[in-house]
Symmetry: C2
Subunit: 200 residues, 2 copies
Amino acid sequence: MQAVIATPASATAAPTVQAHKITIGQRIYAAGTEGIAWRVKSGAVRLDRITGEGRSFAGLALQGDVIGAETLLFGQYSFEACAIADCELEPWLSADKAPSGESLLRTLAAAERRAADVLALRAGEAFERVRQLCLLLARERDDGRREIAIPGLKDMAAITNLTEVTVSRAMSHLRRTGLLQRHGRRLGLVFPDAGAASAC
Amino acid sequence: MQAVIATPASATAAPTVQAHKITIGQRIYAAGTEGIAWRVKSGAVRLDRITGEGRSFAGLALQGDVIGAETLLFGQYSFEACAIADCELEPWLSADKAPSGESLLRTLAAAERRAADVLALRAGEAFERVRQLCLLLARERDDGRREIAIPGLKDMAAITNLTEVTVSRAMSHLRRTGLLQRHGRRLGLVFPDAGAASAC
DNA sequence: CGCCGCGTTGAGCCACGTCAACATAGGTGG
DNA sequence: CCACCTATGTTGACGTGGCTCAACGCGGCG
């Protein structure tokens, strides 16, 4: 759990499992196309269901989650995947072709837990929803602080089922109450319940 | 897919896999307790996350879905499961102890799809949300009509993140516009887009 | 420089939440 | 059987949180 995450992959000239870097805003795959399943090593991925009248938010994948598993069954992706933060992906179930039952079970349990998290982001008042989303997206750094790569307003609005305007107001409120420190447009620090939490 | 659903289980005196009948309102298992995983043969199950301040809706399991899979990993249930319609359950992965990869993959894909369905029930206007929930809960009968076992207002409100009052109004509106025919308190017929659908 | 996408903030309005009264169904005991 | 009680569902009146519309600042890019 220390700084052993970044294995010297580049030094050994791309070993068996290589990490794919995806930049924010980039589409990872489109619905209906062919491809493999991926595991999210870091970052955040937005999944969308494509309907006749457009796309609607259908799920969120964070560190450790697997996306595109359905392609192993149906031969094509069911959803569209889009990076809402800079991501690192690695192929899933390509090295060990025989899917261990425990690995699959773990993935299933994580998916159900994640689904519950996302569902909770659509209940309660706007400010609290946006705050919870920030906490969910944040990753604990070595010094214990929680760092967040802030997505665009469009994405945050789609996830929380609020409008961009309302999310913007909530983010401003978060900053004013000291629960969120912004460093530039994309980076920030979140504080779970920094005193001002009770101050509505 | 015909009338072969009700196998003469009672006649043959409970074969290898027995179906467990659960009545509406009954709690299937509590969070933190031990037990096995189940597959929903028919009916509808509500999953709740237990927090310090109460329970919050965390997922929905319908025909074919698996609940409590996490117990195979952690030894206890993560959520609470409650029947919101009369259900038939069967043990999952107890007969063939070696979990086939394809079966697990299929379960995973179904879970992600179901999660997206439920998420969609929390977007859009109240009337449309309740209508979509009814369509989701309905099962196609032999004659092609869609029959629904209507849950209590509390459950429908928790799923759609509306209040009981608003759900009640939406249900009344559904009935007035002819999209829902009620037979008694619990049973009804849903019509996907019966003419009046365009009439806002 | 002009254009465009993104984020921010204000003003007004409406869908839904809240509160309240009442109707109905189911259960329990006499 | 009825009297009574409670849980559940229905409907009306009213307030408000978030949506809509609109204006503006800012940064990136041709």
